[in-house]
Amino acid sequence: MDSSSSDRRYVPDRARSVKVLVLGPFAVGKTTFVGTVSEIRPMRTEERMTRAGELVDDLGGLRGKVTTTVAMDFGRVTLADDIVLYLFGAPGQPRFHRMVHSLMEGALGGLVLVDTRRIDESFDSIDLLESARLPYTVAVNHFDGAPRYDDAALRDALTMADDRPLVWLDARTRDSAKQGLISLVTDILSRPRPEPAR
């Protein structure tokens, strides 16, 4: 892939965009996932955190990771000559909820990444998507040496709704990472659709 010019490539003129969120705690692999699937070098925008009180309360344990802004990684992949998918990686912790709520508007769905060494840290992301009633898939990004649980135990630990898809993937390889997105779109297509109004 060409390097410096590749981040300036434009999308096809006729394109319609599709937005999918990649949620999860810090260091679960969101940036890796976005970078693996993206056809352009992953990009980043800064979103200001405006609630000063939260900053004071929460930054203690996050030195060097967050200052007064929160970075949002995103990437892009062309799926057809008139379809481009945008992936936005965003943290699921409560202090970022306002930003994520705004991101969920206009999204097709979400992918929640889970690290089996700290499953509970993905709860918030699941709650966010549930409360927005946005379709989502839970994807275990399996790290070398991390415990493997069977799906039933994992669903139980995550208190996942039975009808939500659960997949295992490796965010570092595209063939594996894309399975999370395939699962999400397959699930959306399989949902019962309301009868059109007469």
Binding site: Y10, S17, T45, E46, A80, Y86, L103, T159, E195
Partner: protein, 119 residues
């Protein structure tokens, strides 16, 4: 498991907060909204940041987030500038696809799925 009746709980769209139609284009801007530049309106008179947005967008289509990244602007600032350019006719905004129950939507989603499988 999923709580019912809590759709977009607590979220108030900004146009509600501003009482309606004062800033119609701004509220429809999404990070993934695609921007299509119209070369006809003159750039003269645009402020420097707005002119930079137009110079970036005139050669081709980009999303709001890509504009923010390339110009090193915060997302919220970018949305304000872009919405001004939509209001002045310099840019056309194409909102991202969201699923409804429409047959066309299903066709579109099948093409999304196909595209993912081919990656």
């Amino acid at each position: 498991m999923s709580p019912r009746g809590h759709r977009r709980n607590g979220v108030v769209r900004s146009y509600t907060a501003t009482g309606g139609r004062a800033t119609p284009s701004r509220t429809s801007l999404d990070e993934a909204t695609l921007l299509i530049a119209d070369a006809k309106p003159p750039l003269a008179g645009l402020q420097a940041q707005a002119r930079r947005v137009m110079e970036l967008c005139l050669p081709g289509v980009l999303s709001v987030s890509e504009v923010a990244h390339h110009l090193r602007l915060p997302g919220a600032v970018t949305k304000v500038i872009v919405s001004g350019l939509v209001d002045s006719g310099h840019l056309v905004a194409r909102a991202p696809f969201t699923a409804t129950a429409d047959q066309h939507d299903e066709d579109f989603l099948r093409r999304v799925l196909h595209g993912l499988q081919q990656l």
